[in-house]
Symmetry: C2
Subunit: 243 residues, 2 copies
């Protein structure tokens, strides 16, 4: 049997947002590898082995997936959203680096990343130049996050924030909001999109003056508008023209 | 008949990257509205009217789609990639602004945007904080583009560039490359992904010293790495840890 490895994005939650390319890989797989809640989205079937693992073991998970593919298994590493945006694809290449190119096929299968599903549910807040920043300081110093927030505000980018807030870092997001208020002023629109595309989806848009850290948790993507972002009825959007 | 309007992303080219949500909207539609090459991707069928239109008439197109939905038609405005990333969703809300909320349903249906499909084909160059910049100066002054390039480089973002080069602006991308060389140095990796996910897909990765403006055209998405972006075998990726 010829093994292969795919790193696939399951999108933000709804099955209707999983691409046919990813569905085909899942249906041909012998093994599914990933973080527990993502593997839980895959229906069991005969011939398919599920390998759920805990958070923060991304490199171990990538190595295990590579070893299985080398023995002829057809392995899909599942990520939420898109595997290339703050997810498993980078961990896979870290695990590969320095080793000879594997003899089996490796593919990265894109998915709908949370910020784009959130933007669609809100309207079009990312309709002009924007940036995506992971607010977790697990893998980078907090000072770098602050520097990026300031420079992104000076560039007048709309901004999408992943991993805004966790129990282990309750104060980081509050500091981020303080920096953004100082750089962008109190009237800038900020949207909180929780559990996008699932039955629990909740959308809230307020000004930076009204924003509170508790409005975000680890299931929330936060989108800050640029200086021209505005409301149109129940929608929020950034015009195509420069602010 | 109750009309509705959906703005749907067709992804970068391959049918296997169109979400089931978008396919369902297309199958229920009575009218498809969009730029000529995107409407050409929709198979004709009885009961479906195709309304292809030229580039740079986005507001007229949005107004026509709103008028059709108001008369009870089921209208899908098609965009390449994701409708919220440099595409039709913002134009729709510009057309809506100031008018009373329509009585019919409006939905934005996300899609796989070109930079994420390109990143997946290349490896994971957007695996750390990144920004997306439209290099067209149709709707913003070139000075703002230059300012954003400099600030994004100072923030050490990976960068995805849409609309890098057109016949009407042959010199803009050359100037962008000059700025990036000055800010990021000659060794920074830059990737050119043309016609991603189609049979004509072509991927090239070089250093900024080797990059030439002719490597991009309007079917190309360009991805610049951050200071830690590197090769792993035939792949290009940005590590999850801070540069």
């Amino acid at each position: 049997m010829t093994g292969w490895l795919a790193v696939a994005g399951l999108g933000p939650g709804a099955d209707a947002l999983i691409t046919p390319e990813v569905q085909a890989a899942l249906s041909e797989a012998t093994d599914i590898v990933g973080y527990i809640p993502y593997v839980a989205r895959i229906a069991p079937r005969p011939g398919l082995t599920l390998h759920p693992s805990d958070n923060r073991v991304e490199l171990d998970r990538a190595r295990a997936a590579l070893e299985m593919a080398a023995t002829g298994r057809r392995v899909v590493v599942v990520s939420s959203g898109d595997p290339g945006v703050f997810a498993m694809a980078s961990a896979l290449f870290e695990a590969l680096e320095g080793a000879p190119d594997p003899a089996f096929d490796i593919r990265i299968l894109p998915g709908i990343t949370a910020m784009l599903a959130a933007a669609a549910a809100l309207g079009a807040p990312l309709g002009h130049d924007f940036c995506a920043i992971n607010l977790s300081d697990n893998l980078k110093p907090w000072a770098l996050i602050e520097r990026r927030l300031r420079l992104a505000a000076q560039a007048d980018f709309a901004m999408a924030f992943y991993n805004p807030r966790s129990k282990s870092r309750p104060e980081g997001f509050a500091r981020a909001l303080d920096i953004l208020r100082a750089e962008c002023g109190p009237d800038r629109l900020i949207s909180f999109a929780r559990a996008v595309s699932t039955p629990e989806q909740a959308l809230t848009t307020v000004t930076l003056a009204e924003a509170r850290p508790e409005m975000a948790d680890m299931r929330t993507v936060v989108i800050l508008g640029n200086s021209a972002t505005r409301r149109a009825g129940r929608w929020v959007y950034s015009p195509r023209s420069a602010p």
